[in-house]
């Protein structure tokens, strides 16, 4: 039945009209009143089912319990649910952990890359596979234990033969739980970060993967960004930093940023001003800060001059003139075979004294960042001499 609506200024009559239509749609058509199209296939299926049921009933007197729900009378209360809906406490989130070396069951070497690596190092690499959840070959930052296994021999060779790394102070690295490692930065290309990752991996038990915070610019580079992610390095955004600490991981930061790698040779081993975000993060996450010093990184590619204006025009963070670059082309960017020394300082437990609320105090955060800078500078100076 169609209802004729006459426009009237009388609001009461309009209200009556709307109120009276409880059994019919107030406007237009009712979509639920229309017959819904039925797929012909289903009609056929229904007829087959019906025939089958009749025939089956004739052949067998007891067809067994039907899967359909029992019919209810309209208006009858619904039967009680078989399951109770109680609140279940949520389990704690799993933290990224690796097993100790003794717990690792090592298989046969796979391919020639495995044969280049000693058994203990293979155990360490196998332990990293436990950082990946379930059956997925990647973690949520794109870390791939398989890619790391393949890249390890090259970086291990750099560690042993090219940079001849010596290190001390590993007792300050926690066996488990999160910590922020704060280091000086230098050397144009981030080989210091790579050597730090290898050193931590080789000197911790259970083996730990150091997650470096890399510059956003590196994250935008084709192939480089993929490689960094596959070997566990993460772009240094606030959210990533927080998440890694919440996950109980070791995070390496270079608070000098780009200023550290583009400082001229006259400034080498003099720490530039620090960004302060890492202190906030450490306080919020209640984790210690561990000073770390790289000796050798500032000598691997001494910068004589930085063409800042040209670099800005080309969209590069740095355009250096070194004794070998640009004279030898891209080969000139390769690091010199200098000897590296890595030192770990005593943890600075600022979180115990100031707590997470200290992260909101900008002056305190700046002060603590300066204290950390001083600690790293002392560590650098002590190990240079």
């Amino acid at each position: 039945m169609s209802k004729e609506i006459a426009f009237s200024p009388d609001e009461a009559s309009l209200g009556e009209l709307l109120a009276s239509g409880s059994g019919e749609p107030a406007l237009g058509r009712d979509p639920f009143a229309e017959v819904v199209e039925i797929d012909p296939f289903l009609e056929r299926l229904d007829s087959v089912r019906t025939r089958g049921r009749v025939l089956g009933a004739a052949a067998a007197p007891s067809p067994g319990p039907a899967r359909q729900a029992p019919a209810r009378e309209p208006g009858a209360a619904r039967p009680e649910a078989p399951r109770s809906w109680t609140t279940v406490p949520l389990p704690r989130r799993r933290r990224a952990r690796t097993p100790a070396l003794g717990e690792i069951e090592l298989g046969e070497p796979r391919g020639w890359l495995d044969r280049l690596v000693g058994e203990e190092d293979r155990r360490r690499l196998a332990a990293l596979a436990h950082l990946v959840e379930g059956e997925m070959p990647f973690d949520r930052y794109g870390f791939s234990p398989e890619t790391t296994r393949q890249a390890f021999p090259f970086f291990h060779a750099l560690y042993r033969a090219w940079f001849r790394v010596r290190s001390h102070g590993h007792e300050h690295l926690p066996q488990e739980g999160a910590a922020v490692l704060v280091a000086n930065h230098g050397g144009l290309l981030p080989f210091d970060g790579a050597m730090g990752v290898i050193d931590v991996l080789l000197h911790t038990n259970p083996p730990r993967l150091l997650r470096s915070m890399v510059d956003r610019w590196a994250g935008s580079l084709p192939w480089i960004n993929v490689f960094f992610a596959r070997v566990g390095q993460v772009v240094g955004t606030r959210e990533n930093f927080t998440d890694l600490l919440d996950d109980g991981q070791l995070v390496l930061v270079f608070p000098e940023g780009i200023e550290g790698i583009r400082k001229p040779v006259t400034q080498r081993y003099r720490l530039q001003s620090f960004h302060v975000g890492f202190v906030e993060q450490a306080l919020r996450a209640r984790v210690p800060i561990i000073p770390m010093a790289f000796i050798g990184s500032d000598d691997q590619a001494p910068i004589l001059y930085d063409a800042k204006r040209l670099a800005r025009r080309l969209g590069l963070p740095v355009l250096p003139i070194t004794p070998t670059f640009p004279w030898l082309g891209p080969l000139g960017l390769l690091p010199y075979p200098v000897s590296y020394k890595i030192a770990y300082g005593e943890p600075l437990a600022y979180h115990e004294r100031f707590g997470p609320e200290g992260a909101g105090d900008a002056r305190l955060v700046r002060y603590l960042a300066n204290q950390v800078r001083r600690a790293v500078q002392l560590l650098v100076d002590r190990n240079r001499s």
Binding site: S22, G23, E24, P25, A26, L27, G28, R29, D30, P31, F32, A33, E34, V36, E37, I38, D39, L42, Q68, A71, R72, P74, R78, E80, A81, R83, W85, T87, L90, E133, G134, E135, M136, P137, F138, D139, R140, Y141, G142, V214, R216, W217, G219, S220, L221, P222, W223, N225, V226, F228, A229, V234, V235, T237, E239, N240, T242, D243
Partner: protein, 335 residues
Amino acid sequence: MSNVLVTHADEPIGRRIVKLLFHDPRVGRIFAVGDGSPPRAFDRFLSGSDPRLRYARVDLAKHRPVADLFHSTALRESEIDTVVHVPRHGAPAAQSAPIVAGLAERTAETRLVLQHCLETATVRSLVAIGSAFVYRLPPGNANRLGEESELDLDPDVAPEIRSWIDCDMILHGEVHNDRLRVVLLRVPTVVAAGGYVYLSPALGGRPGLRLRALGYDPICALVSDKDVARAVQAASHARSSGIYNIAGSEAVPLSVLARWTGRSSLPAPGPVVRWVAAGARLLGAETARVASHTLCYGFTLDTSRAERELGFRPSDRIGLARAGDGALRVETAAI
């Protein structure tokens, strides 16, 4: 006992939500609307003299049909109190659907549904599914993003993502509404058993070859369709309103996900991908096959807020399994 209206219930995620809500004893009547005929999966639910589920065909992008829907006798008598708005995600043709009243179809639908939810006195909750591709991605293969992360308001963003951002902002504007509880669930790429993938700007649509930017292989956060349905269920019964990230525990690079879902991806230099995308847009072709140049950087989602306030935790594991034809395909299974 709440009565629920589910939009786009004929599409895969909508079907999954209807099925879950049907078996939820806290849900009374379910009204499902969609573009097409009722899915075969609903046959059992629609049978009987007084079925709990009712289905109707409604074009949600047009004002009159949506007004008819919200003023229909069935909805008024049942006093619908919760609306679950599932955006269109199944049919590839819909991605290049005509613009309705100056808006993308998805945006027009969201706007109309929200408007009628606000106008209908009985509706107390609106649970909408949004996309996590609305976030601005910092350079990098993977980025952890929370609900407070910045949205991508770049005017050059792809139209597909633009419509998601518009929907997001329309709903965001009503999150603090006193009368209507608005919950927006931002979901990343949704995968379903059998190698199906939804709501991914790079992999949506029909299977086949895709172009992606050479030198980039962004990490893709994943969630199973069953977990999305569970999140909707949790959100519809929760008391809190707001925006929540919903994601599973797994994340894989785009190239791997493409391979697992039968959509092989071809890396090509960035300018080539851009030219092909522009050409495809001019020719009206399916842009999802070449739109991935905008997706150089990946992300995963911080779901702690949903865990805390909605009690949502992913219950499904996503992995590879060998299908009947011998091919390895993405599969979901309960943890």
